[in-house]
């Protein structure tokens, strides 16, 4: 039986508390992984390991971190993602809310915008979570 969205959130919260050393109440849906929770690049590997274990899923790196799009000259110009690149990102990451990023699509800022709820939606889609 697939987990509920609440169960997904609780497991993600636990994984983030363990991986990042933050308190339960800091892990809110709107919290950004990098800005609010202080995640660094190596923490993402730790988080992926924990989520894969907790939900028994596989998380290919490119699904959560689309490095191939963000480093592709076709999709990035002058350090900003082009419209074509944004369209690609939306297809690759339907779980992510990219509206803030679209307003100022600076490649460097991409990592800073991923929120806890983006992560929740991603896992929900992988496990077929119910309400």
């Amino acid at each position: 039986m697939p987990p509920t969205k609440e169960e997904v959130f609780e497991k993600i919260q636990e994984a983030l508390v363990d991986a990042l050393g933050v308190e339960d109440d800091e892990v809110t849906p709107e919290a950004t992984m990098v800005g609010d929770l202080g995640a660094e690049s190596i923490d993402f590997l730790d988080i992926v390991f924990r989520l894969e274990k907790a939900f028994e899923i596989e998380i290919p790196r490119s699904e959560l971190f689309p490095e191939d799009i963000l480093t592709n000259a076709q999709y990035v110009q002058d350090g900003k993602v082009t419209d074509e690149g944004l369209a690609e990102l939306k297809v690759r990451m339907p779980f992510a809310d990219l509206t803030k990023f679209e307003a100022n699509p600076v490649v460097q800022e991409f990592g800073n915008l991923l929120t806890v709820s983006d992560l929740c939606r991603y896992v929900e889609s992988k496990v077929g979570a119910t309400d």
Binding site: A19, I42, L45, D46, F49
Partner: protein
């Protein structure tokens, strides 16, 4: 290489668990400064010893073909101190193994007493991003023998663990074949 923070493997179950020992000795110079008249085995060097134990456990799973590096210390809790004359027994258990890396749970004991709990995360370096070798293969083979990995090592069937062919070949090419006992 001189950066050995384990002395010898006492157990090595391929893909599962490894145990090693580290003898703390007043002959180690850093103890005279850490601290003057009060020698204490530095905690970071205990972590390094567990990283070496766990890192070789992880590396051996893929016959030492992957470049394994310590990526994150996920937990390091110390319950006491070790000093000269103590023998630390490090136990590393493979908790999770993936293409990108591995998670290892570790403990340090002084006799029966729990000295530290150290959990570590290793990453496999992406060959497309890092081109050079991590260690000179013939040297690396020599260290593994020196640490007794193949004296105590057991494979998944419980049979004696064998050095992988590419390391044996490197030893032969370097003229460093092991002395037979």
């Amino acid at each position: 290489m001189r950066w050995f923070w384990i002395d010898r493997f006492i157990e090595f179950e391929s893909g599962k668990r490894a145990r090693s020992v580290k003898n703390v000795s007043l002959a180690e110079e850093h103890l005279h400064d850490h601290f003057p008249a009060y020698p204490v085995m530095p905690h970071p060097l205990v972590i390094e010893g567990l990283a070496q134990t766990g890192g070789l456990l992880v590396g051996e799973v893929n016959q030492f073909r992957e470049r394994v590096v310590l990526a994150k210390i996920t937990k390091a809790v110390f319950h006491g101190q070790a000093g000269p004359g103590d023998t630390l027994t490090y136990t590393s258990t493979l908790d999770d193994m993936k293409p990108d890396g591995a998670v290892v749970i570790g403990t340090s004991h002084i006799g029966d007493q729990l000295h530290a709990e150290i959990d570590l995360m290793f990453a496999h370096l992406d060959p497309s991003q890092v081109d050079r070798e991590q260690f000179v293969p013939a040297d690396f083979a020599g260290w593994l023998r020196m640490l007794g990995l193949y004296d105590v090592g057991r494979d998944a069937n419980g049979d004696p663990l064998q050095m992988p062919p590419h390391l044996l070949e490197a030893e032969r090419a370097a003229g460093q074949e092991p002395r037979s006992t």
